[in-house]
Symmetry: D2
Subunit: 437 residues, 4 copies
Amino acid sequence: MNTQQQVTPMTTDVFSTYESEARTYCRSITEVFVRAKGCYLFNDKGEQYLDFLSCAGALNYGHNHPELKAKQIEFINSDGLQGALDLHTHAKAEFIEAFQQKVLKPRDMNYKMQFTSPTGTSVVESATKLARKATGRTKLVAFTNGFHGMSGTSLGLTGNRHHRQPNADPNVFRMPFENYMENMDSLAYFEQLLNDKSSGIDIPAAVTVETIQGEGGINVASVDWLRRLREITLEHEILLIIDDIQAGCGRTGKFFSFEHAGICPDMVCLSKSLSGYGYPMSVLLMSDHLDLWLPGEDNGTFRGNSIAMVTAKATIDQFWSNDMLENHMSANEQVIKNVLARFDRDFDHLIDECRGRGMMWGIEFHNPQDAADLISLCRKNHMIVESCGNEDMVIKLFPPLNIDVDNLKKGLDILENSIRAISAEKTQAIVCDGEAA
Amino acid sequence: MNTQQQVTPMTTDVFSTYESEARTYCRSITEVFVRAKGCYLFNDKGEQYLDFLSCAGALNYGHNHPELKAKQIEFINSDGLQGALDLHTHAKAEFIEAFQQKVLKPRDMNYKMQFTSPTGTSVVESATKLARKATGRTKLVAFTNGFHGMSGTSLGLTGNRHHRQPNADPNVFRMPFENYMENMDSLAYFEQLLNDKSSGIDIPAAVTVETIQGEGGINVASVDWLRRLREITLEHEILLIIDDIQAGCGRTGKFFSFEHAGICPDMVCLSKSLSGYGYPMSVLLMSDHLDLWLPGEDNGTFRGNSIAMVTAKATIDQFWSNDMLENHMSANEQVIKNVLARFDRDFDHLIDECRGRGMMWGIEFHNPQDAADLISLCRKNHMIVESCGNEDMVIKLFPPLNIDVDNLKKGLDILENSIRAISAEKTQAIVCDGEAA
Amino acid sequence: MNTQQQVTPMTTDVFSTYESEARTYCRSITEVFVRAKGCYLFNDKGEQYLDFLSCAGALNYGHNHPELKAKQIEFINSDGLQGALDLHTHAKAEFIEAFQQKVLKPRDMNYKMQFTSPTGTSVVESATKLARKATGRTKLVAFTNGFHGMSGTSLGLTGNRHHRQPNADPNVFRMPFENYMENMDSLAYFEQLLNDKSSGIDIPAAVTVETIQGEGGINVASVDWLRRLREITLEHEILLIIDDIQAGCGRTGKFFSFEHAGICPDMVCLSKSLSGYGYPMSVLLMSDHLDLWLPGEDNGTFRGNSIAMVTAKATIDQFWSNDMLENHMSANEQVIKNVLARFDRDFDHLIDECRGRGMMWGIEFHNPQDAADLISLCRKNHMIVESCGNEDMVIKLFPPLNIDVDNLKKGLDILENSIRAISAEKTQAIVCDGEAA
Amino acid sequence: MNTQQQVTPMTTDVFSTYESEARTYCRSITEVFVRAKGCYLFNDKGEQYLDFLSCAGALNYGHNHPELKAKQIEFINSDGLQGALDLHTHAKAEFIEAFQQKVLKPRDMNYKMQFTSPTGTSVVESATKLARKATGRTKLVAFTNGFHGMSGTSLGLTGNRHHRQPNADPNVFRMPFENYMENMDSLAYFEQLLNDKSSGIDIPAAVTVETIQGEGGINVASVDWLRRLREITLEHEILLIIDDIQAGCGRTGKFFSFEHAGICPDMVCLSKSLSGYGYPMSVLLMSDHLDLWLPGEDNGTFRGNSIAMVTAKATIDQFWSNDMLENHMSANEQVIKNVLARFDRDFDHLIDECRGRGMMWGIEFHNPQDAADLISLCRKNHMIVESCGNEDMVIKLFPPLNIDVDNLKKGLDILENSIRAISAEKTQAIVCDGEAA
């Protein structure tokens, strides 16, 4: 028996009394969680919840994977240097070596690595600073519905008005993402703005883009669109920064989300699942010639969060040393696709579109209330999913990449039953209305 | 024998080849460190270094304290929920409870707590966003030589030109810190600017200040100055944000650095040593009426870095449940003061001033080369210190708060001998020059 | 004989030696002009040039109209108060009265009038300041190819990259003007951005728009588009500012350019031809409830340029007291339309499109060189036209509003003959190339 | 008899009904003015007012000087090209020639001239744009209590909070003007900020300064201070822009206000009294090597306001072709100084300080109410003065430069009698209070 399960169920008064109103997930997911394993969370009553949220994409390999756990305990027990700034440590050396040899080299990629402050928003800050420094330009391009973080410049790139407090950097031109408007070729528009000297758009330092917008609603950029974007940015000598914080680290079926398009960005932002265990860690990949930083010009106390490097290294060894995970994901993707295709077919009165790639999927409802109801129903059935996109109309499916097919199917079943229940209730309501009439 | 000591000494090629030029500490401290314990770092040759840097203030309790270590291993072994976003977890509940009961309540403080993205720069971003939201004003005040982080708005507050890339938020008015100029009353100047409607300074949303500027050169604000600043901000309804990221968590001899002045800021930024073990963690304390966040309005994937909350809770239990640490620091402060007073007396040809409070001290040299030489000499004597301030003229002394007096004296001895050596060499040089003449 | 005609022809060395490189029109129009009358300019050799530029729209009634001339000489001779700040003067009272009674009242318009600093850029500054003040919002919307002036905020609205020096206010969202992209419904796009809370576009204080973009290439907004824009801005409580600096004061056939659409903007910016005689003068019209200025909150030394008010009043009496000018323009517009329709038909190998409204027309060429050649040929034929739009591909036709039909036809003939010559030369070149082959 | 004097007295309803609330001077000076001559204004009842305001410094040579009047009537009668953009005209050629030969050459100055948009705010915009372009830097320095205009960037430089609407460019560092704080060496502070790499102040593109702050309260920079400022800016390669819009054109006793200090700024902004007759006109003087504008990069419809060039040329011929005006001012300055010295002596219970230079003087009261009362009393005595500075505590004396000594003395007498009356009333009040007690 796990000792943690003996925990006395607690009230949540401590949070409502002392914690800021900014808290959000815990308002709908009101359980108190005590432990977690693989694709399951356990509450203080010992009940388990199937986790299709995966810490908003920061736990791609499930909770507390035993190999990673073993490595970190070994590190802690050996009194490894935990807070290391940017000192030379074995932990970092081994991560760099593994990342270069097992991730970059097999993909023919040449990037230098900057260990930025270990959050998503900070690695985007570092990328945009460097882009501005390298080009001498001020303006940045970001896309509708993009999400890039909460600090000054990253917030300027983020599309969500809810967050766009006055810290947001104003020097951002907003472009429409692919398919933002029906019948609108967003890149033709971008190109015209760049070519037209009186368009009101200056040549930007960089374009920052997610290949699949996570928070924005699982909006999937096509391979063609990404290639054209790469061509346009090259032609105008604009840097292309892929924010792969959420879509990277395997989420789309390959390590980098842009591998599908075969493009080579100038910089890549990695964070979230990089450590593999939920530990804060970020790395900025940059082409050699862009590494124009002076010593210490960009820094951060926690850039040497060694425990994260230890698990990040173990993650590469465990999951990215051979093609097993990729094959596993490929098979699972097929399972998901089949089910979602059925959803599209059977529930088109409820569902606008199912879309995604790899292990990153969204179900867009016509009606936000239906999405909210689905989340509640899933919760009752002990499964955790969340929504995203404008008006939270898109149910986000983020199972662990390495989820076994049985649990995957179980999750999809819960989803299907829940949608079916919503559908039935609606039909019932219509019938009732009909009778009443 | 510790297994880690069997590590084969490694070259540092992996860093110079693959890591960004932004790296800085490792350029002067070129050792490869393998493990650490209390006030000592151990390199890959098994040699030990006395650590008076303490991860730039993020390791106030020394490296890998056994009690904290035990708690985190217990947490990991129990499969605690590591990446938790802002879900309800026992780890967070216990930290909040301990912080409220053992830190805030005994000090008669009432603050709500926001778990921001877990870096120093992010908690400052959250504070400034909230201040702007609460007041409806745009401008922020920061001080000469201040350091508040590297992301957009925080960077706007940071004074160091080296870092002030174009991401820096321009809506910052810069005020002179206490004693920035001889014969200048910096707060009288600030007040005049506020009272004068055509001064060119708008009433700001907030003043952000460190009570002792760490990176800026261990510039110590007097108790009087801080009280006057509090009065001025109250009179003009400007929010006062204390950035206690470096000076807080006990560094100045009390938990909060502003306790010495007996003032009550509107918000307090905590990070660095909050987790007690080098784990990324940040908390924004705010007066109840300022908690105007909407759910999710400010967020960040790693705001639920549970391992940090576990060690943070253990840190409070271990060090802030009684007055032992404060008494210990008080005694140690006296030891430091006595030695530095002697430095001031004996080496005034080298040293401009020694200053500090609690366990946060600086030795300002007349000549940056002497400071650089001192660092090198200390290193040769297996002790790590670093410099700060404009032109790196100030040697920063940041021993662990709980260092035993023997190691403290050992460190001070190394310092003294090194300064003596520099002094002797100078005298020698003068004598030689004299002989040569 | 006019005394001025006895002037000795002068060299232009004084300009090239002492005047800034910023000068532009005089580089292509190298004549030295001595006097002007109606639609003619006279150089220092006594030669006359037919003027289809009209001081970039600031001389809608031709040069030195005798009635306006008489009024100003009377004013000067009577020692009227020329530099009047915003003191009460007869000159201003009479202008206000005339403008209210003869311009606004017959059009059922209720606007208060602010005499801003007397340039186009300043009246746009005042409008945007007031919009931000009234709404408490920061962002402004402007359109591709828009032109609104050269000072800070106006420059932020202006689309031309050539001018967009770092003074440009960054808080501007750029929207595509009608027909900016083929197959793109620019207002549907705007609406979607406003309705989508994560579009990255905040609700702006104001939309600033020209109904016909002058400098941007004589881009004509349709009546439908303007009405939809008015509806959208009303629905989202965004202020609509019509910049009628160039298209207003009769240029489109009616006093205000937006009369064609029957809409009622929240503010209207007038300048250029307002004084009728080329004197600097600007007025901001604003709905009563928007007149939120405090006394002196917005000002400018030359807002009381009395001579301009004298001629402005005389202009209203002369041209806007009955429908003669409107009828005259209507007839002339038909003449222009017929000729340009022929151009469209006969020269479609050279000309992309002729477009315009009232007395404001543009001929867009496929090839910028052809537009440049046309300007030169016209000049040789003693006629002045200029180009506008991206890459200067659009020939701008701005004859005086009150030009007699003979001179209008004369100008159109010169144009036609010049285009014919370009066409012939091209054909010749093709033939030659053919022969050479 | 002048025909204008037959004007029927009018009500001011037209202004209060139709003109924006932004109007300011006319609220205290409620007369309706009909004509003006030399140092006198005449209202619609034929009453005359002695004018010590001079259109806020835009009428340095008094109203409607007969020589300037004759020249402009000649120009108008000859049908001169009034709205000329930047075409070559005789009017401009003659002004440039006169300015170069009679103003710049005798002072050994070499400047190129840009005819900017003809307002003060626009010439400051052009100067700052050019400074940013030339240096590649973004930040600007301006001083407490400075006034530089109302458009975006100029407004950022302007100190008055009343005007600092959200159009104000935020990229401005505010420095204390000389004597802003007692016992504070403002330039030593500036130098320290520039030399200290972590001061939080970046090296700016330019420093923009008035040698005597007009709107800011007649704050006079000493010759020494200006020289040091010139040295500091040269040492740090910062451009020095003198905003001589109010203090230039003779107001301080010499043509340029900085002649007293013998310094040579990189750029000089001229406007207000440049045309000599209240006509809008501005010129930016710039060192040859700074004339980096591309053709048309900076422009404005009214930059060719020919009538202003005609009177500007006549002004130079009339007043700046010999030293008569300078000698006249020197004598008058002595008269003013003697009287104000007496004020300082006799009324130190009311007056804080009298200060100024040439024909630009201020009387600072202890109490704003006394300043307001003085203005009212003067008005009753048919004299117009205005106040400036923070809380309008400084009475601004701006008589015409060429005022005859009798009228000057008459004005000073009215002032003295009015102050005496205020003093008497106060004494009376004290006595009464005493009696009452």
